[in-house]
């Protein structure tokens, strides 16, 4: 290989530049009065949630090459378990402590991921895409219609905020929790990606037969990857429920799944830093469209379709012109030694 691989520090630098840029923009927006502080903190917290989702999907698609079109369902599982277990209005009337609900949500997520993954992971990629989308829709229909359990279309309100016991105000707690969760997941993923497990996963993604011939059970590794990704999505869902305080079945629109896909492929499939940046850009696009309609040329348009249009065009353009995304995984420090070797040669 004679590709030049950019220095990792340099790349890390550019990640911070992008993120910093977004934060500076945010700051400016607040100063000029375009944004209120509470809206700005909302945006950051929301971005944090999408970071978690993108990291979860990146584990599956980026590390494992597993197509999952049920992202919103695993996220929704977390949101609904959290809501049902803790909300005042829950038909189940449990009102558990949120941390306990989190543990239960994770257990449910593992079980659901295994139930879906066991039969489905072996499927050809396109079949897996369709099957997971089918699972996602079945889940949405169940939540919408099993009113005696889920409250149905009425939704669930009165979900307590995140960690009310902490000595901060709600906004600070929200930000703190999502920042800590995002950082922990990021560091954890980076660690396992560089571990022997991560290397096996890379071989499997590149050449499943080769991995099998090395005595690695590709199926078992892919299952672990799938479950791990689903659990991260579920954690994002739990966070969302406590952060927003309300969930209903319209939150389970498969569109959300594709938003997360945009974040991952925009950032660069297989790259965790890419997933983080992708998630921030995604939220900037999703929420930024609100402001575009303030400009006269867009005034006639409502936010909904404009947002879809931009996301759609983004997907088409990335796939055409930059399918490897902003941060192709090659730039990641996977085999630090082999990278320095290559650099020495080129």
């Amino acid at each position: 290989m004679n590709v030049t691989i950019p220095k990792t520090d340099h790349e890390l630098g550019s990640t911070s530049v992008v993120l910093l840029g977004l934060i500076v923009l945010l700051g400016l927006a607040i100063l000029t009065g375009a944004l209120t502080v509470s809206y700005a903190t909302y945006l950051i917290a929301l971005s944090g949630m999408y970071v978690l989702l993108a990291l979860g999907l990146n584990v599956q698609w980026g590390y494992g090459g597993i197509i999952n079109f049920a992202v919103v369902a695993f996220w929704g599982l977390g949101a609904y378990v959290a809501a049902l277990a803790t909300a005042r209005t829950s038909p189940l009337g449990l009102e558990w402590h949120p941390l306990f609900a989190l543990v239960v949500a994770i257990i449910f997520s593992v079980i659901a991921a295994i139930l879906v993954g066991l039969p489905a992971i072996r499927l050809r990629a396109d079949y897996l895409a369709i099957a997971t989308l089918g699972f996602s829709e079945i889940f949405r229909l169940l939540v919408a219609n099993e009113t005696h359990i889920t409250a149905g279309m009425a939704g669930l309100a009165g979900i307590p905020s995140v960690l009310e016991d902490l000595p901060f105000d709600t906004v600070t707690t929200n930000l703190l929790v999502v920042a800590v969760a995002g950082a922990l997941v990021f560091l954890f993923l980076r660690r396992i990606h560089r571990s022997p497990w991560g290397r096996v996963m890379q071989i499997i993604k590149a050449d499943e037969d080769l991995a099998e011939s090395l005595g690695k059970n590709a199926f078992s590794f892919k299952m672990q990857t799938f479950v791990l990704g689903c659990v991260i999505m579920t954690i994002a869902g739990v966070y969302y429920a406590h952060f927003i305080g309300y969930v209903d079945p319209t939150d389970l629109d498969p569109l959300e799944t594709f938003f997360v896909w945009v974040a991952v492929i925009l950032g660069g499939s297989g790259s965790n830093r890419g997933a983080v940046v992708g998630a921030f850009i995604l939220v900037a696009v999703l929420e930024g469209t609100r402001f575009l309609t303030d400009f006269s040329i867009f005034a006639a348009l409502s936010t909904g379709p404009l947002r879809l249009l931009i996301v759609g065009v983004l997907i088409v353009l990335i796939m055409r012109f930059k399918p490897e995304g902003l941060y192709p995984p090659r730039d990641e420090l996977i085999w630090p030694k082999s990278q320095t070797d290559t650099e020495g040669q080129s």
Binding site: I130, F135, I138, M319
Partner: protein
């Protein structure tokens, strides 16, 4: 409601699904990717028909029944839009991409969002309907059988029957039809034999776009025309295609009716209401994917 009435409804809804599924199956087998924009392509056709339909009303033509030249104009306009949109998308998006099925799949979702948002921007989010009188059930049929069958239902089923039969003859006996089947069966061998992919791929988009548009117009005729209805029907169409076996045009026809029936007849299952019609269809789809991915008619393939 009687079981037979549910079955009749299933055949009507199944007809719409058949029209979508045959086109999707064509694209899936010859274009070699699952086109997630197919549902929204149907919607584009439905709105194309709507524009013509409203235009007719504007110039003072007031159809007295759904069996009218106005319906023909509506359908033809829908077809034209469906074909133009499908072919333009091919040249602007899919062809230059020149990539594998997964990249095409993801891109097709972006295309779906673009269709949907443009339609939404152009026509607003509220439901519209074609300007044809909504008559009640046909009296003679109700008296004879006790079944509620409206003119619209009759139009949909009859027109679908005509289209499907014509398609059968084209595919079975014309050289173009044989080339299409050959390309769907084995793309490389078709090229080795001298079939130009340009010809089959273009035919595939023209045919797929036309069939999708027709399905879209009928979906609008059967219910209402909504900019977001494409996604609701997309998975049902996938279910039909998978049930019948990807690439099998006849499978798609059979699968379409089967999924239409399953969708409408769920109340027959004890404890399951009509709100689970789609869910039942998806369960069938997932089971087929898991146990017999070649479809019920197809070979055992993975």
């Amino acid at each position: 409601m009687s079981v037979i009435q549910l079955a009749v409804d299933g055949i009507v809804y199944g007809s719409i699904i058949v029209l979508g599924a045959v086109g999707l199956s064509l694209v899936y087998s010859i274009g070699d990717f699952p086109n997630f924009a197919h549902g929204d392509l149907m919607v584009a056709g439905a709105y194309g028909g709507l524009v013509a339909n409203l235009g007719l009303t504007q110039i003072g033509l007031q159809p007295t029944s759904v069996f009218s030249p106005e319906l023909l104009v509506t359908i033809v306009a829908g077809l034209a839009i469906g074909i133009v949109v499908a072919v333009a998308t091919h040249y602007l998006v899919f062809k230059p991409l020149d990539s594998g099925p997964i990249a095409l799949l993801i891109t097709s979702f972006g295309v779906a969002l673009i269709y949907r948002s443009l339609i939404w921007m152009g026509f607003g989010s509220s439901a519209r309907s074609y300007n044809f009188p909504r008559s009640g059930p046909i009296g003679s049929i109700r008296d004879a059988t006790g079944l509620a069958v409206t003119n619209r239902m009759l139009v949909i089923v009859l027109a679908t029957a005509v289209v499907v039969t014509t398609l059968h003859f084209v595919l079975q006996y014309s050289m173009l039809g044989k080339k299409m089947r050959a390309a769907a069966d084995n793309g490389d061998l078709a090229r080795i034999s001298g079939i130009r992919p340009r010809e089959t791929v273009l035919t595939m988009w023209v045919g797929g776009g036309a069939l999708a548009a027709m399905g879209g117009v009928f979906l609008g005729l059967h219910t209402l025309i909504r900019p977001l209805m494409g996604f609701d029907i997309l998975l049902l169409i996938f279910a039909a295609v998978i049930l019948g076996g990807i690439g099998s045009i006849y499978g798609a026809m059979l699968g379409g009716f089967a999924i239409g029936l399953a969708h409408e007849m769920t109340p027959v299952i004890p404890g399951v209401g009509s709100e689970y019609g789609a869910a039942v269809a998806f369960v069938i789809m997932i089971i087929i994917l898991l146990v017999r991915p070649g479809g019920i008619l197809g070979e055992e393939t993975t």
